[in-house]
Point group: C2
Chain length 314, copies 2
């Protein structure tokens, strides 16, 4: 299905046995001598672990406005078809689990994606102008929040979306306080340095099911055991207003949530402008525009934070 | 269905709305002046929180023997029919999730139930001779361990088994290291002081499904939210050889486990000899003997620990 001439440095879902391939891209592309917009120690931590937590990035007032908008999006009419993902909730009723592409459907989240506290740091880490490859609001319900199995986002974005290189990062803005036991996102520190290929082929229209539950592109148990042995597993539980940043190839997942604590976050994937999508490297047709953006005219112009807030540290 | 004259102090599943009833029994029955077999501070903590963790109770060698026997029980022929509970595991194969009544099916676990480090402490807390009301080995698999919803054990034991009073405790011996993110049992501290009744009625033979997943006898979301607000939620992750002890009415549950860490524990419910079962207080017929023991001839005679080990503290 490839039409452009682009070498596949990270082949996956092509063989019967999983492989560990070498990472061919730097984790931080920022140019030498350039000062990072956060403590350099955090950047070093990001290079080593593949993720960092920035606390107190957004004020309680900002969070309040974001929560109000996130709540409104659950119900709002006229959204992009299919961009609101639901699942059967506690009393059998359908509950909203995600709204995709909020930065294209809400001025509040469009502004958030451009906020320099996010986009400025993304530009530094990726060493390039940036754009949003995917975004969503995730609502993990109290009492019946489902688990989400281990995966490298890049494995999917490369294979199903045609993202050529590991030059993208995710930023998750916490809109509610997390709790160590409310099923927070868990990371395997250091896992971003290895590319674990998955076995098998991907069926067409796999994205419909995979947005709820990963079934293809699933790493094997032996590799996960080895990664956990090497780097452990951590599940940070940051407060509302914090931002969790992780590399596109960091292995992550989450357990279920039976606690009474709902979790909401606003999730943005920043991709390097030089790393825009080509045809998928796998055998499937490209996923729809609301899941993987191709119609992007120009990079993000970072906007100054409304107050003179600066990005905090861990 | 009640034939014995026994007042129902803790009616549940009888009304359309949940209620909070007062606890009518002490948490620790030990007689005044009697020295506890563990630090008094731990006993006070148990009274306040409804659970405690004792670390380093069993030596690594003892744990190794117990794990060997627990592993053997997954496969052993000739077990009590239905006492081995399986569920569909990772590759579609049936995996053993629990073996009930191990102390009746294995000399190793019969000995463990009588070990004074468990039974001696149980006698102190319950202020009486004790026997095993229920026991099981729990195997929570890696990668695909399921969650288990919030519940008070006593609510079930009273309604479905006919346990008259809150005079029973659970002791869970950790046979593997727990991890904060491997779906450990979570507790709501202080919840043991309130009896939250459940709504609705229980169908006959409910026990078959309920051993895997709780559907009836489920507390309402509002009550759980209130209990969590009052006392919080903690998920201790003790090492192998530790013992977690909790009151029969402490609200507890666990999230799923997608980590590569399997969790195995040996679980014993000690009931006061004076608190032996009568007919169920609910409308259902009694659950089978392997789930709720009625054929008990005499109380446990505590056995000294093999080495001169004493019970540790937290």
């Amino acid at each position: 299905m490839m039409t452009q001439t682009e070498q596949d440095l990270y082949p996956s879902r092509q063989r019967a046995e999983p492989e560990w391939l070498e990472r061919r891209d730097p984790v931080v592309h920022g140019q030498a001598g350039q000062e990072p917009p956060v403590d350099r120690a955090l950047i070093e931590q990001f290079v080593r672990d593949g993720f960092i937590v920035l606390e107190d990035v957004f004020s309680p007032e900002e969070v309040k406005d974001l929560v109000r908008e996130a709540d409104a999006l659950r119900e709002r009419g006229g959204l992009i078809p299919e961009s609101r993902i639901t699942e059967r909730g506690m009393e059998g009723a359908e509950a909203v689990r995600s709204v995709f592409a909020p930065h294209r459907q809400s001025e509040v989240f469009e502004r958030l994606a451009s906020d320099e506290r996010l986009s400025g740091l993304a530009r530094f880490i990726l060493g390039d102008e940036v754009y949003i490859h995917q975004s969503r609001i995730n609502y993990k319900p109290a009492f019946r929040g489902k688990d989400f199995y281990w995966h490298s986002d890049f494995e999917t974005w490369h294979t199903e979306d045609g993202m050529p290189r590991m030059r993208a990062i995710s930023m998750s803005v916490m809109l509610t306080d997390n709790h160590p036991q409310s099923g927070p996102t868990m990371f395997m520190p250091g896992s971003h340095m290895n590319y674990v290929t998955c076995v098998g082929e991907t069926p067409d229209d796999h994205y419909r099911a995979s947005l709820k539950k990963q079934e293809y592109g699933v790493p094997d148990g032996e590799s996960l055991t080895k990664l956990a042995k090497e780097g452990g597993i951590v599940g940070p539980a940051p407060k509302a207003g914090s931002v969790v940043i992780f590399d596109c190839n960091t292995m992550h997942g989450s357990n279920s949530n039976i606690t009474p604590y709902e979790r909401i976050n606003a999730f943005f994937v920043f991709n390097s402008w030089a790393n825009r999508l080509v045809d998928p490297f796998g055998e499937t047709r490209p996923r729809p525009e609301f899941v993987a953006h191709r119609q992007v005219k120009e990079p993000i112009r970072p906007l100054k934070a409304p107050q003179s807030r600066t990005t905090g540290g861990q």
